[in-house]
Symmetry: C2
Subunit: 197 residues, 2 copies
């Protein structure tokens, strides 16, 4: 999966200092590149989360010596289901806007009105990604540390691989949120340079 | 502060429907109003969350008949502490930007550069508010429904008033996130109208 993301992120780093060459085409290229990175991040995050599965032997309370194999899966928690659903929506959105952004480069007539709707969509998707990250992160933290006040036991000491998957997925979605912030600022910056001209 | 702003905003309020007469001053007034609403929402949300406290009698496991009074407080969960901290930051930010936005109305010279930094801040605050809402909401959902897979018991059947406080605080912070989205779109819309001129 990382092999797939690497060649996509290279073109972003090539024109790395965005402010000085503030031409319209340059910003559009960075926009497309960031959207591809966003798609890669959401795809990796969804795959890592949905492949989180671990089966361990657990003792049965009340029956000494008896052990039963119990599986931990991401869909045992509504928070993780919401996470996957939200990031699927963001991933789908990133595909559509990547194509739209490429079409704007090819036909720059409707650039201004398009970029207005891009910002609108990006802002809503940022809210979705951040809330999904928070939800999954909050539940994962209880799994990691437990909560002695309400008697919620920690599970990550047993299901270690499962928790690593969850943690990685949350970290990648945090990265996706940062990419969305960069996309919004890029749009606003391009508006700004147009006003100054 | 409002007395000072009133003589400036009076000529604005005469053409009251905001979208058709899209003058700069009109949008600035809406901006200030939305920032005040944002401050009120974050303040109410923090107060409702931090006053969430309920003491109930609970039976002691292993000792039949013994009962002990147990308090539920918001600071028993790291998720709720993060929620309060994040919304305090957003509340503080809304105070500062309300004053800055009023100063822009009074001296419109630096409007463009100011509004760029407003969007930057608003976007980061949106991410913070959405993630805080998600974190608190995810943990509150476990409190409401429990999770049988990992043996986390629900607590809202006992601590009903406590859970109502948590739920209300999460709902109000969701509203604050919507206000932030509106603020960002307002800024982008004002950029847009300037480009069209």
């Amino acid at each position: 999966m990382t092999d797939k993301a690497d060649p996509e992120s290279k073109p972003v780093e090539a024109p790395s200092p965005p402010p000085p060459p503030a031409t319209g085409i340059n910003l559009s290229t960075v926009d497309v590149a960031l959207r591809v990175v966003l798609f890669a991040a959401t795809l990796v995050s969804v795959v890592v989360m949905s492949t989180a599965k671990q089966t361990e032997l657990a003792s049965v309370p009340g029956v000494p010596g008896a052990r039963v194999s119990l599986a931990a899966k991401f869909n045992h928690s509504p928070a993780f289901i919401y996470f996957v659903a939200a990031l699927c929506v963001v991933g789908l959105y990133s595909i559509i806007t990547t194509l739209a952004s490429i079409s704007v480069i090819l036909k720059p007539n409707h650039r201004t009105i398009f970029s207005f709707f891009f910002v609108l969509g990006d802002v809503v998707m940022l809210g979705l990604t951040a809330s999904a990250t928070g939800t999954a992160g909050g539940v994962a933290y209880i799994g990691l540390k437990g909560n002695s006040h309400v008697g919620w036991v920690k599970v990550c000491n047993v299901y270690d691989t499962f928790c690593k998957h969850i943690g990685s997925a949350v970290a990648i979605s945090l990265f996706a949120a940062v990419v969305l912030i960069a996309l919004i600022l890029l749009s606003v910056f391009s508006f700004h340079t147009k006003i100054r001209k």
